[in-house]
């Protein structure tokens, strides 16, 4: 195209560029600055150097608890959810009637899952005399104290996320369906069983999608807020007090904006570090068909 298109492109991008500066870039830098200050919304921010970070890592039991809970939550929820989503996608990836009905049914919780109404429902069905315990009793099991007990509460929140495996499953299913069927035929002629084919053909070919789902689910899980905030308010004994709730409380309940920004930055650095590790390691385990051929 002609020379004027150089500026036309930027013209079409202008909303993005303005928004990026005002709503992302400047706030990003500002939050790093705030994390080195003491700022209560009333007075001007006072620069305090590393004081917030020193307090976080040496003198804040709540932070240590919250960080631990967050890591446990992410490292249980993400692998369980991905494994279950992949398992169900493999089962669905077969010439079955009603496949679309099942796919839709599994996808519904993903659509609704973020809603407060679902968090409210979770509170009811996992209550002491709620639906889940009624079901367990009918089957002859003892009732479980789903979120009164600190050892179970986090798992009850995890179940809410697992229930929403549908969106990851739909992505896996699309990848499975795009695999060339002749590969399996060739493998079976060479005597490969179902399981061998899965390990050596299916898994390598869907690694890009596993990678995508892994990153997306991880970034999302680290920012979980609605579920624990509505269902358990972070309790009991802070056993579901995930970092985003801690940040919210510090910022918007105690109005300690500087300290909240410091926690947010610790969370950010953790997410970034894990994302970078995933990207860096992806060369060793993610297989891109296009790359190898060229």
């Amino acid at each position: 195209m002609s020379g004027d298109s150089r500026f036309l492109g930027l013209f079409y991008l202008s909303p993005y560029i303005i928004g990026l500066l005002i709503f992302t870039a400047v706030p990003f830098v500002a939050s790093l600055y705030l994390s080195f200050t003491n700022y209560n919304l009333m007075d001007e921010p006072v620069f305090t150097g590393l004081a917030n970070y020193v307090k976080l890592f040496t003198n804040d039991r709540t932070f240590r608890k919250s960080l631990w809970v967050t890591l446990v939550y992410v490292f249980t929820t993400v692998p369980l959810k991905l494994a279950f989503a992949l398992f169900m996608a493999v089962i669905l990836n077969y010439k079955l009637k009603f496949i679309n009905v099942f796919r839709t049914a599994y996808y519904v919780p993903s659509i609704l899952g973020g809603s407060i109404a679902i968090a409210v429902l979770w509170r009811y069905i996992f209550a002491d005399v709620g639906l889940v315990n009624m079901g367990l009793n009918l089957l002859g099991f003892e009732s479980v104290n789903w979120f009164g007990d600190p050892t179970n509460a986090l798992f009850t929140i995890t179940l809410l996320r697992l229930w929403q495996f549908g969106s990851a499953m739909v992505i896996f299913l699309a990848a499975l369906q795009s695999i060339d069927k002749t590969l399996y035929e060739a493998a079976s002629i060479d005597g490969a069983g179902k399981w061998t084919s899965f390990i050596y053909i299916t898994l390598p070919l869907i690694t890009p999608v596993i990678f995508f789902n892994l990153i997306m689910q991880m970034v999302q899980a680290f920012q979980e807020f609605n579920g624990p905030y509505i269902i358990t308010q972070g309790g009991p004994l802070k056993s579901t007090y995930l970092l985003p709730i801690y940040i919210y409380d510090e910022a918007f309940k105690r109005f300690d904006m500087g300290y909240a920004s410091a926690i947010a930055w610790v969370l950010f650095v953790i997410i970034m570090a894990l994302t970078l590790i995933a990207f860096w390691s992806s060369r060793h385990w993610v297989y891109y068909a296009g790359d190898k051929r060229s």
């Binding site: 991008l13 706030p27 609704l112 809603s115 407060i116 109404a117 920012q223 807020f225």
Partner: protein
């Protein structure tokens, strides 16, 4: 049973038939197992929602006593009293507020993301690579890190307790995921028609509106539906920015209702939860093709 007998036949013909029969049986067993698993998981997944609908018509004493769907003494009490709420406003106000947040946000998203995606997919310009990299970076950037300064910015602009903080960032293509989705879609569309239009003297603006937008429609509908759904479900945004009850969207009103009435009026909360989920469910069932296509192709291919 005949298959079983055949498989033990010592003759060669019988052996071949036996292998075939065994394979067929295994195939049938595999299908049966798949159906069983699919149905069991499906039921387990959807039963909480089914139960919710039934429970919203139950009396309070029945909710924690009856695991079944069907109410013993069906009542509309939950809906009638729940709708009125314990505030001076009814859920009618809260639904209108939600709508008033969602519609401008969806329109702003659709327009800005289309323009930006067109810019990325069809033009060369300085810093294009850097800007596209920034788009990917924003996609992965956790909102938690920009939330506090954004709040301070909106406070200084005098926008607190209004819908502006919820609308404006989206009108500046703030949802990188949607831009990315549309760019991927546009890259897969051949440019012939656009080039023909340009040769015939159409401006890029006219080309965008009359040629690109119609071709982009399926992806654009997906974008609008996802934004509709996410905004309907959004809780943290309104929680931070909206403080007057008369401006509450449904999500905040539900949180308010569990704080005030939960101790004894369960069926009201459940009835309002059903209503809160209804628009999202209705839209999903009317347009599920766009959701599934959107998530399985636009988001990741390319």
């Amino acid at each position: 049973m005949t298959e079983h007998v055949l498989s033990h036949d010592p003759s060669t013909v019988g052996e071949v038939a036996g292998i075939r029969a065994r394979e067929q049986r295994r195939h049938k067993a595999s299908i049966a197992l798949r159906y069983f698993l699919l149905a069991a998981v499906g039921l387990l997944m959807l039963y909480p929602l089914i139960w919710l609908i039934g429970a919203s018509f139950k009396t309070n004493s029945e909710i924690f006593a009856n695991p079944g769907f069907w109410p013993e003494n069906p009542t509309l009490d939950g809906y009638i009293k729940g709708w009125q709420t314990s505030t001076p406003y009814s859920f009618g106000t809260f639904f209108l507020n939600t709508l008033w947040i969602v519609i401008p946000k969806v329109i702003g998203t659709a327009i800005s993301c289309t323009a930006v995606a067109y810019g990325f997919a069809r033009f060369d310009f300085p810093f294009k690579k850097v800007l596209f990299a920034s788009l990917i970076a924003t996609l992965l950037l956790p909102n938690v890190v920009t939330r506090i300064p954004q709040y301070l910015l909106f406070r200084d602009l005098g926008w607190l307790d209004s819908f502006l903080p919820l609308w404006v960032p989206s009108a500046f293509a703030g949802d990188a995921f949607f831009v990315f989705m549309l760019v991927q879609f546009l890259r897969a569309i051949p440019r012939d028609m656009e080039e023909a239009a340009r040769v015939d003297g159409a401006t890029t603006w006219q080309t965008l509106i009359f040629i690109v937008v119609p071709l982009l429609m399926p992806a654009l509908i997906s974008v609008c539906l996802f934004q509709f759904m996410w905004t309907m479900n959004d809780f943290l945004g309104p929680l931070i920015y909206i403080s007057s009850v008369d401006k509450y969207p449904v999500s905040l009103a539900l949180k308010l209702s569990i704080d005030t009435t939960e101790a004894f009026e369960w069926n009201r909360v459940l009835a309002m939860s059903v209503l809160a989920l209804t628009p999202a469910l209705a839209v999903f069932f009317l347009a599920q093709k766009y959701f599934i296509d959107g998530i399985s192709s636009g988001g990741i291919k390319g």
